[in-house]
Amino acid sequence: MADASNVDAFVEFERVQKSYDGENLVVKDLNLTMPKGEFLTMLGPSGSGKTTCLMMLAGFETATHGDIRLDGVSINNIPPHKRGIGMVFQNYALFPHMTIAENLSFPLEVRKMGKSEREEKVKRALDMVEMGAFGGRRPSQLSGGQQQRIALARALVFEPELVLMDEPLGALDKQLREKMQFEITHLAHRLGITVVYVTHDQTEALTMSDRVAVFDDGRIQQIAPPDQLYESPENSFVAQFIGENNTLEGTVKEINNGVALVQLDDGELIDCKPVNVSRPGERTRVSIRPERVEYNKERLQEGVHTLKAEVLEFIYMGDIFRTRLRVAGNDEFIIKTRNAPDQTRLQPGQQIEIGWLPEDCRALDA
């Protein structure tokens, strides 16, 4: 087995499939390799198979086909309690009939650890999440954010090398969520643990992870560091799912020197970077990020193709302006501009010309 796997691999999925009913595959041919110490996020819409993958790794679901390896050892037939994987659940799953200290002590007790050692570890874990004074309380006496910290401490107290988190911040309000995002990433890096984090919140995925695996339809659509994922999506699902995105549909006319000439459906021509189109005549979806669209003619490069646009709506959002345009028959074309002193505020009804760098405009699958 060891020779087949990557040397650095700590967690590995090899050709893993999962079906619940014997008719539909929830997870289709999953291959994934994670080095030790990585913070990987599984991101995707609900029903994309990300939680199933996490449950297979934790041992609560069995893979229908394929091999899951932990530190080079196949764990398909190892029951969950022998895997030594820490886990944080969406609803925290703190045992309501135990105090906080008893909750934290539980994983140590089942490991037959001595009382004094247990107490010391529990104290250290509570201090780690700054909840040292709460050991005697019951979970129901804590706020959502405090319960979240305790759940985290409980998953870490027995010092697992791998920790799984299943949408752990889903129940918190926005401010607290952002605070906890940083705390979790800092803690994970400080302790050097490997984390698999499941979420459907793309901001969370981008801000926390070393790498993000975007799931859809039971497959990983793209797995890459956050910046790459945002700036170089490999297909139109990822482009649509991560961040805000403008889409124009058309046909490839020609591809020259790494630049594709695309004829939009209303006849206009634009220059794009071919990502997964290879020959003229192919249908394509062109993707441009709202903040990469330029309407100030002086800032546009010489000779690039421009498009006519009509301003439909101007929305003032404080730090940025969000303007909705009609471009090539698309009423939902958004551009974002920074609120700077020299920035022009577009008026509804205004006719403008927009353009962009060819490499910011990606021709993806239709």
């Binding site: 934790a58 041992g59 609560f60 029951p79 969950p80 309690h81 022998k82 895997r83 030594g84 994987i85 820490g86 886990m87 659940f89 969406q90 609803n91 799953a93 045992f95 309501p96 009939h97 539980f106 994983p107 089942v110 490991r111 409980r154 998953a155 027995f158 799984l164």
Partner: protein
């Protein structure tokens, strides 16, 4: 406008205190709510609370002796029973007058019955004398002592007079003492002779068997409730229907079915004999004893255990078990340390329900209990409907009620009634 910064009670906009104004606003709502439940309230008052209160009063009520024998009771006031001498002539005269009047009004049998509970044999003395005394001309027929003793030797017995004196008050503890196998003797309350004691045995047996039934229900019901709470919805619904099915069948039918199954020539014994596990000559005695009552009642009360347990287990999130396992607990440890403690409120609710129902159960023990497997409620029923000793029946019922309340209180102290959940 009201000034908020003022001291004293907060005032509403029109200057009345806010509290009164609020109460007035809510009064109409309260009245309407009361009106809605009024029919039920009235119904319960008339058919439940009043009869129960009446029954409880009957357990201490002793007006009959004073009502029927007023002169005798008065004449005996100065008599000292400890002297072991028959009372004075005046008492006999009073008795003769009372008895003749009672015989004409036909109330002498009632007082005879009442006193006979305390001193068996008194009923016949009263009844026989009553028949004959009607012919007397009480005013002039002296001396009463000789004539009465002549009429019935019983009147010459000091014990009889003692009984009348002891039970001449309008309230009595006699029924309650009787219900716990005691009686009023010369020196106050004392235990009855060994061979006359039955009620304590019955009460203890009822408690013991109810406990056994409750534990059997927990053992049998827990896995079913767990399945109900953890199966996929479609299968769980089917199982729930199976659990509820007994409710749609008459209690009598189910008990009779157990008779057919459990009797010595019944289905179970026949099958065991046929397989060869039991010898034909030594068929198992499964019915008309404690075992029969326990089997039949466990079956009948099982749904009352399963349903509260199920509704509590439904609220236990399955991720608790997953969390426990992810932390290294085996299936058993996860169940015992994490799942079971959270299901205890359901067990508590089911146990209280089953135990209280079992303690007062009547039909099933009467049908399958024989003599060894009957409950205290069967004795209560006997006193109410057969022997006519309502006072004793009421006293037994009151004791049963007190015991149940006491157990409820103990349970509250140990487990806490807040921990009981029906869902």
């Amino acid at each position: 406008m009201t000034d908020i910064s003022q001291s004293g009670p907060v005032l509403a906009a029109d200057g009345t205190p806010l509290k009164r104004s609020l109460a007035r606003a809510l009064r109409l709502q309260k009245m309407r709510a009361l009106l809605l439940i009024a029919p039920l309230l009235l119904f319960i008052l008339l058919t439940f609370i009043l009869p129960v209160a009446d029954m409880l009063y009957r357990s201490v009520d002793n007006r009959i002796v004073q009502d029927v024998l007023p002169r005798t009771v008065q004449a005996l006031e100065d008599w000292d029973p400890a002297s072991n001498q028959l009372p004075e002539e005046a008492a006999f005269a009073a008795l003769a007058a009372d008895l003749k009047e009672a015989a004409n009004a036909k109330t002498h049998t009632k007082v005879a019955k009442r006193l006979n509970y305390e001193n068996p044999g008194m009923a016949s003395v009263f009844r026989k004398s009553g028949r004959k005394i009607k012919k007397w001309d009480v005013e002039n027929d002296g001396p009463y002592r000789e004539r009465l003793i002549d009429l019935n030797k019983g009147w010459g017995d000091v014990e009889l007079w003692k009984t009348i004196k002891t039970y001449s008050g309008i309230r009595t503890s006699g029924y309650f003492l009787n219900a716990v196998d005691m009686q009023l003797g010369a020196d106050g309350a004392e235990m009855r002779p060994e061979n006359e004691r039955i009620y304590n045995t019955m009460l203890i047996r009822t408690m013991r068997m109810s406990l056994i039934i409750t534990f059997s229900c927990i053992l049998l019901g827990y896995p079913v409730a767990w399945l109900l709470a953890n199966l996929p919805a479609s299968k769980a619904n089917l199982l729930l229907i199976l659990v509820l099915l007994p409710f749609w069948t008459s209690l009598l039918v189910r008990t009779s079915a157990w008779k057919i199954l459990l009797q010595q020539q019944g289905v179970i014994n026949d099958t065991l004999v046929w397989i060869g596990l039991v010898d034909d000559a030594n068929r198992l005695v499964l019915i008309n004893n404690e075992l029969g009552t326990i089997i039949a009642m466990t079956h009948i009360l099982l749904p009352f255990m399963i349903l509260p347990m199920y509704s509590v287990m439904q609220t236990i999130n399955p991720t608790y078990m997953r969390a426990a396992k992810s932390m290294g607990a085996t299936d058993w440890t996860a169940f015992w340390r994490v799942y079971f403690p959270q299901s205890v409120p359901g067990i508590g609710a089911g146990s209280i329900l089953v135990f209280i129902l079992a303690v007062g159960y009547y039909i099933t023990p009467a049908l399958v209990g024989g003599t060894k497997g009957t409950f205290i409620s069967n004795l209560i029923a006997y006193h109410i409907s057969t022997s006519g000793n309502w006072g004793l029946g009421a006293a037994l019922g009151a004791i049963l009620l007190a015991v149940v309340l006491l157990l409820y209180w103990v349970y509250d102290k140990i487990v806490g009634i807040d921990n009981v959940k029906l869902g």
